[in-house]
């Protein structure tokens, strides 16, 4: 057995903030008592700080340029071969009363979703002793378990079903699909299992401890975990207290429930819809955002007829109208009704179906009967569920936690990331925020400086956009020029049967730098990354247009959109030169 000792800066004459000008040791080094650890420089002299104890250096807490004062920890060493018998602690060792910490760590990450585990892994890689608190049995959060990943497993299947059905036109006819729902569910679960299993292994490899339970802050340095077990998040009644030096709140969000909704197995949220218990005859999707439309795509491909009700003017809010129009045209066949500017006002459950009343511009007069109702009206942050107030962390009335550009909350050593800090509630945003928080916590000067966060609807066809949209540019009074390339002019798109799509790029007319871009069509989400990179790098039309894209691909449409902006795309009819 061995024990870890903190080597600290000794009394250095009352100086504070003394510069570290040299560090002689590195993690892994074996050091002897008296060995020099670091060199300090005061206004009067330099001095070596010797090790008070020998051992193997486990973690180094200072770097050249740091300022230290007496008592600051320089390094952690593991004293080798000092037998600490478990019994030795006996004399006064009463069992730790509740209130004391059961676990101590440098970094506590509350929430094991994509943002949380990314933050935890980065923190661990940077030498912080890290603990993740996650209430479910697997890491990965909503995204991996009941969100992005399982929905993509189903959407892929849906896309193939639909593509196969169109193949008769190409001279290849498949029969009508035979859907085995339980096998489909098993496929989805296998996809999820591969990823969550991988995450568990990676946590282990980094010595990141995962404590399973619901966490609540007790104060600014303690979190109490009510342990959970089983399939869901049932509490066992056991508790653990974790003492942390710093924390990252990554507690995510949950679907908004409508207050007037009765409790009925036929009324589900996104998680329920992904369970895929049965294929309904008629399905109502409440909320025309990305999540609702993705699930509509899946259930429609499996044979359900869909109605959508949305309070706003448009489906897929956020995307430019020209993209939505293409999507609508391709998806009109799924829907019996698309009710915009309409609200759901009454729901009653009858044995033969869920009766729903609507009110608004496109509301049908009579109650409608559905076999399944999906409520997908947004997600709300979990800020009010974690006892943040006990730690002094400010949570607004909606449950969001405000952070600065370094992801710090109003309490300096507590960070927050992901859905809980605000829109857009996207995994890839949370991951980047998690990395920033972990690096700042480890003493790095990092900021969330990404300029754009791409959005993708993995519908059929996919719709993807990043940076400014035309609508936003107009609203903000930014003069932008648009370079648009319709896929009707793309050989590959025609060959693939997706000549309805298009790619467009938005350039700032003043700086000529690309400020936005959007794609509608298959694999739009895979291609939008190039536009995001171009925006981050400040590319102009030549940078993109003169980058050779492979032919024939859907991706080359981006190069051509850049050429079209300047009016010299040779794959389009002659344009007016700019």
């Amino acid at each position: 057995m061995s024990k870890v000792i903190e080597l600290k800066v000794p009394e250095i004459g009352g100086h504070t903030g003394v510069s570290v000008i040299e560090v002689f040791v590195a993690p892994g080094d074996a050091i002897g008592a008296g060995d020099s650890l670091i060199m300090l420089e005061t206004d009067k002299a330099t001095m070596d700080v010797p090790a008070e104890a020998g051992g193997v250096l486990r973690a180094l807490k200072v770097a050249v340029g740091d300022k230290v004062s007496a008592g600051d920890v320089i390094a952690l060493v593991e004293a080798a071969g000092e037998p600490v018998q478990p019994a030795a602690a006996a004399p006064a060792a009463a069992p730790a009363p509740s209130g004391d910490a059961d676990i101590e760590c440098d970094m506590l990450v509350l929430g094991g979703g994509p943002g949380g585990y990314s933050a935890a892994f980065r923190a661990a890689d940077l030498g912080l002793k890290t603990v993740i608190v996650e209430r479910y049995g697997t890491l990965g959060g909503v995204c991996l378990n009941v969100g992005c990943i399982p929905s993509k497993a189903l959407l892929h299947v849906a896309a193939v079903i639909e593509e196969a059905s169109h193949f008769a036109d190409c001279g290849v006819a498949f029969g009508a699909p035979q859907v085995d729902l339980s096998a489909l569910r098993a496929h989805k679960e296998k996809v999820v299992g591969k990823l969550t299993g991988g995450l568990a292994g990676m946590a282990k490899a980094r010595a990141v401890e995962v404590v399973r339970g619901n966490g609540r802050f007790v104060d600014a340095n303690h979190l109490e975990v009510s342990l959970t077990a089983g399939e869901g998040k049932d509490e066992t009644g056991e508790r653990r207290v974790i003492r942390f030096r710093q924390a990252i709140i990554a507690a995510g969000s949950q679907p908004v429930a409508l207050p007037f909704m009765p409790s009925d197995p036929r009324i589900v949220d996104s998680t329920g819809a992904l369970e895929l218990r049965e294929v309904p005859g008629r399905m109502l999707v409440i909320g025309g955002g990305i999540i609702g439309l993705e699930m509509a795509t899946v259930y429609s491909a499996l044979g359900a007829r869909i109605d959508v009700v949305e309070m706003a003017d448009t489906l897929m809010a956020g995307a430019d109208a020209d993209l939505v129009k293409v999507w609508e045209k391709r998806n009109a066949r799924r829907f019996d009704r698309v009710m915009l500017r309409t609200r759901t006002v009454g729901v009653t459950c009858r044995p033969d179906g869920v009766m729903v009343k609507f009110e608004g511009e496109q509301a049908p007069e009579s109650e409608q009967k559905y076999d399944l109702v999906l409520v997908a009206v947004g997600r709300r942050p979990n800020g009010k569920l974690i006892g943040a107030e006990n730690a002094g962390v400010a949570v607004d009335e909606r449950g969001f936690i405000a952070v600065d550009r370094q992801q710090r909350t109003n309490v300096g050593h507590i960070f927050a990331i992901g859905d809980i800090v605000g829109q857009p509630m996207l995994a890839h945003k949370g991951v980047h925020e998690g990395h920033v928080a972990a690096e700042v916590a480890a003493g790095h000067k990092r900021y969330f400086d990404a300029r754009v966060i791409p959005s993708v609807a993995y519908t059929e066809p996919e719709v993807a956009w990043v940076g400014l949209t035309e609508r936003e540019a107009k609203a903000q009074g930014i003069r932008v020029g648009v370079g648009k390339f319709p896929w009707a002019a793309s050989g590959r798109a025609i060959a693939n049967g997706c000549d309805y799509g298009f790619s467009k790029l938005l350039f700032d007319e003043e700086t000529r730098r690309v400020v936005g871009g959007a794609i509608v069509g298959p694999n739009a989400g895979d291609m939008i990354g190039e536009v995001a990179l171009a925006i981050e790098m400040g590319c102009d039309p030549d940078d993109i247009g003169k980058t050779i894209h492979p032919h024939p691909t859907l991706g080359e449409s981006l190069g051509m959109a850049a050429e079209a902006f300047d009016g010299h795309c040779t794959d389009l009819p002659p344009q007016k030169k700019r």
């Binding site: 250095i12 004459g13 009352g14 504070t16 903030g17 005061t42 002299a45 330099t46 070596d48 807490k61 740091d66 007496a70 008592g71 920890v73 602690a89 004399p91 006064a92 060792a93 730790a96 009363p97 209130g99 004391d100 910490a101 101590e104 104060d219 600014a220 340095n221 303690h222 003492r243 030096r245 710093q246 107030e389 006990n390 730690a391 002094g392 962390v393 400010a394 949570v395 607004d396 969001f400 405000a402 952070v403 600065d404 550009r405 710090r408 109003n410 309490v411 300096g412 050593h413 605000g422 700042v440 916590a441 003493g443 790095h444 000067k445 900021y447 400086d449 981050e536 400040g538 102009d540």
Partner: protein, 551 residues
């Protein structure tokens, strides 16, 4: 779970090297809060040091007869069970003054408790301010009702060395301010209570991102040593603010932005040299160089200002034109001491008083004792006599044992004498503390030990602090006199050159006497010429007849 903590000597009134006369604990003992650990004896009183944490003693670091100072580790304690001492260690009361006129110094409550926050309330406390206690609050920047953001200045403190802003480690609305201007505070004292309010933290990157303080990376100062749970304290140093709105628009890729953040560069102000005005890594680095060089250049322009020195720029000469040269960098100590010497030379009106001391008898005595002491391995040096004689002179002329602090003269009642030590790397001035309480032999041993540490580069800052008066002896080398530079904030320094046998008239005849040249530089703002002359003659008298040291 358990943790090891260190029990340290509390503030014992600034005494250093206090004798341990009794130790009450041994490894394996279980101690409770306020149990006595050991008894200390200063020149004024004895005091018991109580435990400020409970637990099981794992190791005792002091022994009877040892000497301890504030901050020394007394014992290592394994804390078991509940977080031991709930309240911050009891102040002064715990230090029991048993003898009469004990100065009853306020002990520092070391434990900076983690804010056991109730609903959204955070207590903002004085962070680690380097062990200073009773630090003056000279400014309070907050008032109840005000909203503070992370890193906003709460109060400004002034120590003897510097002023420092104490930043907020949590944002929110100020409910209560616990300090006022003129108060004296120590680490762990409550400054204010804030209530977390939504939106009070640094603004979200909104349309007009008026984001404050990029500030320092929150050096996760691993918290107060005692209450491990205490919140990490951001270094009270603020970088220049970055204009976030400009940063967001700067034509620079992610990697350049990352570099700019690391260097604290406001990208919006950096001109881009890349294609189409793109900012490159090199641009960011060049910007930093330019900014760092700027203050130096700003100091040079000879705009007559009245304040400061309007000096010509340093002559730039291409020495290689006149013959072969080589350059080598100044040693670190040379650079440090050079800056100090230059300041002292220009800021202090120096006068140097020359005198001679007849050390014939002293040297005879020293040499005779030398033979005796050799057996004990002690070398009685002339420096020891000089230190002792200087202490006598300082006692007689207290204005030499003083420092100037604005319009105040600080007169010291202790006698710490520094001596310049020549080392391969440059000049350092270790200090013999409480030279008045030490014997010649003790001083001789201590000076040779300090000189060895100096040569080995092992001197601690504490070894060089607290001097009242310095001695610079070139006697072993040569010279008849020189003008030493005062080691501020001291007010005088004694230079000693090589002693020489000279004919001295004893009233009847010339006698060969060993004469030691003395050169006393003094701060004429504090010391008059007549006083300096009296000081050196008294010093010479003492050295001439060291029996006077016993008076």
């Amino acid at each position: 779970m358990s943790e090891m903590i260190e029990l340290k000597v509390p503030d014992i009134g600034g005494h250093d090297g206090v004798d341990v006369i009794e130790v009450f604990i041994k490894p394996g003992d279980t101690v409770a809060v306020d149990d006595s650990l050991l008894t200390l004896e200063t020149d004024k009183a004895t005091m018991e040091v109580p435990a400020d944490k409970a637990g099981v003693v794992r190791e005792v670091r002091v022994a009877v007869g040892g000497k301890v100072s504030q901050g020394d580790v007394i014992a290592l304690l394994e804390v078991t069970g509940a977080v031991a001492a709930p309240a911050a260690a009891k102040p002064a009361a715990a230090v029991q003054a048993e003898a009469a006129p004990a100065p009853a110094p306020a002990a520092v409550p070391v434990a900076a408790q983690a804010p056991v926050a109730a609903t959204g309330r955070v207590e903002l406390r004085v962070p680690d301010i380097g062990g200073h206690a009773g630090v003056d609050v000279i400014e309070v920047a907050i008032a109840p009702g005000a909203v503070v953001a992370l890193d906003d200045t709460l109060i400004t403190l002034e120590t003897d060395k510097a002023t420092m802003d104490v930043p907020a480690v949590a944002a929110g609305r100020v409910l209560e301010v616990a300090v006022k201007v003129g108060d004296k505070v120590a680490q762990g004292d409550l400054i204010a209570v804030v209530e977390a309010v939504a939106g009070a933290s640094a603004a979200q990157p909104a349309p007009q991102p008026a984001v404050p303080a990029p500030a320092p990376a929150p050096t996760p100062a691993p918290a107060a040593p005692v209450a491990q749970a205490a919140a990490p304290v951001a270094a009270p140093v603020k970088a220049a603010a970055v204009d976030e709105a400009g940063f967001v628009k700067a034509h620079a890729g992610p990697s350049v932005r990352k570099l700019a953040r690391e260097l604290g560069v406001d990208l919006g102000r950096v001109p881009g040299s890349g294609r189409k005005g793109r900012i490159t890594d090199e641009d960011v680095k060049a910007w930093v160089k330019a900014v760092l060089a700027a203050p130096a250049q700003a100091a040079v322009p000879a705009a007559p200002s009245g304040a400061g020195l309007d000096l010509l720029p340093w002559p730039k000469v291409d020495f290689a034109k006149f013959g072969p040269i080589k350059t080598e960098p100044l040693s670190r100590i040379k650079k440090l001491s050079g800056a100090n010497l230059a300041r002292n030379w220009v800021m202090i009106p120096h006068v140097t008083q020359f005198d001679e001391a007849d050390i014939t008898e002293m040297e005879a005595f020293r040499k005779s004792m030398g033979e005796e002491l050799k057996a004990d391995g002690v070398k009685l040096t002339p420096l020891a006599f000089l230190v002792k004689a200087v202490v006598a002179a300082l006692k007689k002329y207290p204005q030499f044992n003083a420092s100037l602090d604005g319009d105040q003269l600080v007169l010291k009642e202790y006698y710490h004498v520094g001596f310049a030590a020549d080392t391969p790397n440059g000049l350092v001035v270790p200090v013999v503390r409480d030279a008045d309480k030490k014997s010649l032999i003790e001083i001789a041993q201590e000076t040779s030990l300090l000189a060895k540490k100096a040569r080995d580069g092992k001197l601690l800052p504490t070894d060089m602090q607290g001097g009242c008066f310095s001695i610079s002896s070139l006697g072993g080398i040569g010279g008849t006199a020189f003008t030493p530079i005062i080691n501020a904030p001291e007010v005088a320094i004694l230079g000693v050159s090589k002693s020489e046998i000279k004919p001295k008239w004893d009233g009847q005849a010339f006698a060969p006497r060993l004469m030691l040249p003395l050169s006393l530089s003094y701060d004429h703002r504090v010391i008059d010429g007549a006083a300096a002359a009296r000081f050196t003659s008294y010093l010479a008298q003492v050295l001439a007849d060291i029996r006077r040291l016993m008076l």
